[in-house]
Structure formats: structure tokens, C-alpha cells
Symmetry: C2
Subunit: 127 residues, 2 copies
DNA sequence: TTGCATAGGGATAATTTTATCCCCTATGGT
DNA sequence: ACCATAGGGGATAAAATTATCCCTATGCAA
């Protein structure tokens, strides 16, 4: 998400949403924050597949887009909390719907995804 | 979407949905097909920002994921039609919800996105 | 004194995703 | 012959996204 060479297209609602919600971990971040996991370290534990760095970056973008707000407590060791803004809250039902569809179709999706050539992982022999 | 080096994570519903719906044009393709624009050339006209090639690729993925089905008529010049499968149909309300949220918040989103440093386009002087 | 927890961020590499380019099919019309 | 139509696809370049590595700071505990 740095300066782009290719102009954004922001024609329809879908484009606009994409701009703030695309990002591998963003929806999950919003979701977990909604569930009360507000501190960076908690979120990190909830999403161990993402590195701390990446979460920071995506949190920052969510903040820039006013979906979450950040509170920094001036204590040591540092303490930070994220909260959904009202704007962010309004997205929760949408994310809920997406996750819900995924959960409802979990088995089928899993099978489809695994069957797709695109998802075959390239196994590299260890050394 | 070729063979990947980094394992997919398919922990929750959100991950699963992402696997079939991430892709710059996929939701729009589904949406337009739903609206009756079933032929590749129609879709292309609806989404002029994407090249024909890219649409083909994404349509193929949607097909592999059983969200749409493809009918090839053995005529010349060729005629092809895509239709939503039932599975694909079941996604329409979700896509609708996303687009709806985007439309409802269009102005705010547009302003936020433009204000974000990340979206500043790198202007290259001509020549 | 070293180690740990907490949070943050620059620089760069790796990976994935999109875009671009160019070519192919077959038939009917000019 | 040559073009237009309607649909496809390989190869490669470019761009965008993620991951990795390493460094900052503070106060407390072993």
C-alpha cells in the first residue's frame, strides 16, 4: 500500500470497500477487536500466522481509514488499545455475513480449494 | 494463483471465503452475471478497466470454485455464457451487503481513501 | 548484567497478483 | 486475400502485497 502506479478505480461501492478491507488480515483484525481482543499482543496471539510487523501495518491502515481508533497509554511497558469506531462497528455485520457464509460452506469450500490446481503448494524438499 | 510457496491458512470462514473471492474483479463479475450480463464480451464492456485476459483468468477461477458454470455453444463465431450456480447464487446476498455498505458510505470512503498517503498516486511526468 | 514483555518501525527480500503483448481458432462477408 | 467477430491462452513484465530481519526504548525480575 504505497504510492501506486496504477490509478485506483473507485467506480462502485465494491471498489470502495475493497480499498479499506483488502488486506490479508484486516477483516480478522476487526473481528477480534470486536470480540474484545484490543491489544496488539493479544491480536498477535490470535493471529499467529501473521508477523507482528504485518499486523502493525494493517492496523495502521485500518486506523487511517477510521475503522478503528488507537489509544496509547503513557506507561512502561507500553500499553496500546484499539477500539472499533462507529464506522468500524457498522462494518461488523458485513464481515459477519461473509464469515458466516464461509462457515456454513466450510466443507465444500475446503474441498474446492484443495482441488484447485492453483492452491497446490509447491513442496520443496528440505535441503 | 499459481503454486504457492506460502501455505494457505484456512482456519476460519473468512479465510475460506477469501480464497474464492479475493481477486480484483471477482465480486464484480459475479454481480454482473447475476444481472444478466453473461457473455464474456458483455462483461468486458461492463468492466473496461480490466483486460480481457484478466477477466478470463478470474472467470476460470470462479468456475473452478463452482460459483459459476460455463456453457460453450458450438457455433461460429463462438458463443459462451456464464451462469451463477446455486452455490454462486448463495453468495449474492453477501456481495450485496458489501456493495451496499460501500454505497451507503460512498462519500466518506472516497474522502478517506484519497486522504490516505497510501493512495496517493505517483505522478510520473510524461516523457 | 542479562533477559523478558510491550510496542514500534526502516529496509529489503520474497511472493503473489495483475497487466501487457502477441498469437491462435473458424466462418462469413467484402 | 483480408478483415471482423467472439473467445482463448502462453510468456513475460510490472506492480502490489506480505514476509523477514534487525534495531529502538523502559522498567522489572532472576
Amino acid at each position: 500500500m504505497k504510492n501506486r502506479k496504477i490509478p485506483l478505480n473507485l467506480n462502485c461501492g465494491l471498489d470502495l470497500v475493497g480499498e479499506v478491507l483488502y488486506g490479508k488480515w484486516k477483516m480478522r483484525l476487526l473481528w477480534f477487536i470486536k470480540q474484545g481482543h484490543k491489544r496488539p499482543s493479544e491480536l498477535q496471539r490470535k493471529i499467529p500466522d501473521a508477523s507482528r510487523r504485518v499486523l502493525n501495518v494493517q492496523l495502521k491502515e485500518l486506523e487511517d481509514h477510521e475503522l478503528i481508533s488507537k489509544v496509547v497509554y503513557p506507561v512502561v511497558p507500553p500499553k496500546v488499545e484499539y477500539n472499533l469506531t462507529e464506522f468500524g462497528e457498522s462494518l461488523i455485520p458485513v464481515i459477519g455475513a461473509i464469515g458466516q457464509w464461509g462457515d456454513s460452506n466450510e466443507e465444500r469450500l475446503r474441498a474446492l480449494i484443495m482441488a484447485t490446481p492453483a492452491s497446490k503448494i509447491e513442496v520443496v524438499s528440505e535441503e
